[in-house]
Amino acid sequence: MNGSIQVDETLARYSDLLFGTAMAVYVVAAFLFFGALAAVRGRKLEERELVRAGAGASGNGTTTEDRVPGRVEGPQRRTLGDKLGNMGLPVVIVGLIAHLASIVLRAMATERVPWGNMYEFVSMTCAAGVIAALVILRKPEHRPLLSFVLLPVVLLMFIAGRWLYTQAAPVVPALKSYWLAIHVSIISVSSGILMVSGVASILYLLKLRFAANPADDTSSTTRSGFGGAMRRIIDHVPSAENLDRLAYRTVVVGFPLFGLGVICGAIWAEAAWGRFWGWDPKETVSFIAWVIYAAYLHARATAGWRNTSAAWINVAGFVAMLFNLFIINLVVSGLHSYAGL
């Protein structure tokens, strides 16, 4: 129906194909990383415990001269988990290349920026999330955490491909502005980064909840079956402190970026809708999300709120972002709901 001269149908078809490919490859990568986490057996855990104990001992100031903390010396036998983890990274990168190619082809097919409707926006946000995660989790020991980012990414991409899919087409007049390129890209990149942050906080809370008893740490490594694998996964994600720091660092980047996106949106709204702020549902929930992330930063600076409370606030921010993406666009009608549905 949209078969008009403005759209290159062949390119659009290849873009769709690559989108599906990227999703499938992400699934494979997620399984590899989960495998890496679940397969790690007791040996590696003991080493980790040793490292942690050593770091603690350095506090006494006795035997610090000859050791560089955080590095484990000696040759290491490669386990199945390590191999799986090493295989996962190139797979993710292949998926990301397919994903980016899908976005670029979509742009070439329609001759406009590739984020003119909700399907394209979700695709863009997911790509940003994967890139952000690859950058933030670049250390080998953090790498398996990518699985937890790939999980929501695959879910979002599935929803986008299954229910939000829109054929490649030019955008409506309201979107014909260079602010589309600026505002939407900033929002989607910041959403991607904040998604990584939300995942880190969820893992942090899970870690605190399930690894609270140190006695369980050892027993879980010997437990078999699905439950045991889950416990091992939780046990082998980085320490709670690391996760918490990860969540904070991503918010530090994502929050100002999101603010910038909202400011750009306001400038655009002033030109397109006659006011810079009009409490449109999307604007309102963006405001709510912004306030929640501001509260998160304040909680981090408030005694007694620093740990789990702050993490819960970050999770609430993540929920607000998802709510803004789906419920506001699909259920509530507002000025932002032209997004190709």
């Binding site: 078969g3 008009s4 001269i5 403005q6 350095s58 506090g59 006494n60 100031g61 610090t64 903390p69 955080g70 087409a169 030019p170 409506v172 007049p173 309201a174 014909k176 602010w179 402190e241 918490d244 720091r245 904070y248 530090v252 929050f255 100002p256 603010g259 910038l260 400011i263 306001a266 400038i267 655009w268 002033e270 030109a271 397109a272 809708w273 006659g274 006011r275 810079f276 702020w277 009009g278 409490w279 449109d280 549902p281 309102t284 929930v285 405001f287 709510i288 306030v291 929640i292 501001a294 509260a295 930063l297 304040h298 600076a301 408030t302 709120w305 607000a320 506001i328 509530v332 507002g334």
Partner: protein, 578 residues
Amino acid sequence: MADVTDTDVADRPRSEAESPSPRKAHWARRRILWPLRNLWRSLTSMRTALLLLFLLALAAIPGALLPQRDLNEQKTLEYIAERGKLGTLMDRLQLFDVFSSAWFTAIYVLLFVSLVGCLTPRMVEHFKSLRARPVAAPRNLSRLPRHITRTVDGTPEEIAERIDSRLRGWRSEVVAREPSKAYPDGCVEVSAEKGYLREFGNLVFHFALLALLVSIAVGKLYGYEGTRSLVADGEQGMCNTSTAVYDSFRAGNLVDGTDLSKFCFRVDDFSATFLPSGQPDMYDATISYAEGDAVRDPAAWTTTSVKVNEPLRVAGDRVYVLGNGFAPTFTVTFPNGEKRTQTTPFVPDELQTMLSSGAMRFDTPAGLYPDADERRKNQIALEGLFAPDALYHGTLLTSASPEPRDPAVAIRIFKGDTGLDTGKPQNAYSLDQDLIEQGRLQRQAQVNLAVGQSHTLADGTTVTFDGYQRWVSVQVSHDPAQIWVLVSAVVMLGGLLVSLLVRRRRIWARLVPAPAGESAGQAGGPDSAEEKRRTVVEIAGLARTDQAGWGEGFDEQAAALVADDADPSSSRRTTRRL
């Protein structure tokens, strides 16, 4: 309030309430001053600010989920009507005017006060801290989360000098302490701090937030927004001279309508282009305008194009073209040959095809009927549909596309009292059904007309469909403070970035001469006994940020501060900034 006071008095570490003075304080201080002060303290505490932030987020939720009167009055009224009593109750709770409601206002005013109360002392403290000396070293440095101990060659004074010189960009101070019980030989301490910009950025962010809120409030008080439908025929224009020229006008409390920005404009042309799929491609209105006293001079008028994302900015106001439609032109020829022509905007019922509906009322010419009563009873009224691209299902008119390829109308023609003289406000787009039911307005015909076609009634009156014009709905907006909103927002963002990225850190070093025996043992050198004095250096760091700590690398950085220059690997590290 009493509860708050009690607990807070108990919680306060140092206050007059706990002073040992046996005499009871004056009742006025006890009953009024202290409760007020405690209320102020709890209001300006971080916990209260956090709570208010949450309340603000929570209170905004109904604004997103329920229809809002400001955005869509029609939908709001329907929503209320559907729910009967519950709807009325929700309305009384201002759930349909969330952002102007008493409770939302209460939350943000409290937040505003809390912010001011929180910021003012912090600002004073910040300026004091800019002049203050770095905090003296804590007694027990090994209690701090990050610290190292090294024994190096050199006297404490030399090492302190070295550390001090390597702390570039830090505010640092070297203090020699007298011998004490803990350090019988005396010691030298280095205290340093950096990252003062962090607090500065933080303050800038919050003050810019205040400026943003003030700018928004000023804009709301002095701003106005008027809408008006104009036929794009190059004749019908309007001047922003009074609120009466608008179909609807909303203004701030300090606008009385006498001092609107002076400018006039008219819509010369309007075009809507569509893609083959029927999707709109672009709306483009050609507008001529002039501002100030130049409006009287036809030569001073400028013509410009106003598109969807490109409003006309004139005399500090903005002119937007927000909607459009078709305005059919009809001519009614009365039995005596007198003609009346009208072009009236019809509202689009279907945005996809621009099938529009509307009504027209024609007064009878003077002299045709003997008296005013008779004259009123013979007025002509039309009601019906306009299709830009006519498509008939039998005689039922619909529209195939939004483009005016083959315009046609389907109208009912009425004769009688149009109700214009009743003084009762009427819907411009439909006839008063009461008049029709009462028989005061009687249907004469129901016809489909293409451009140029006409229909003659039994009494000889002819109704001709002449064609159409396009009309646009124009919004004029005035917000004198919106540029300050933007400036505040950008400053906020800058302050936020500084406050998040700058790290505030403190570092302390305590240098104690090593005991002779230990120094020999530590050095391991058999013959270095007393040639050089050795110093035990304790360095501790504190990250005064929201981050969990200094993170990795403190040990290396601290070691680089004391390392001997002769060691090439350590001097390389020295150049790295802490």
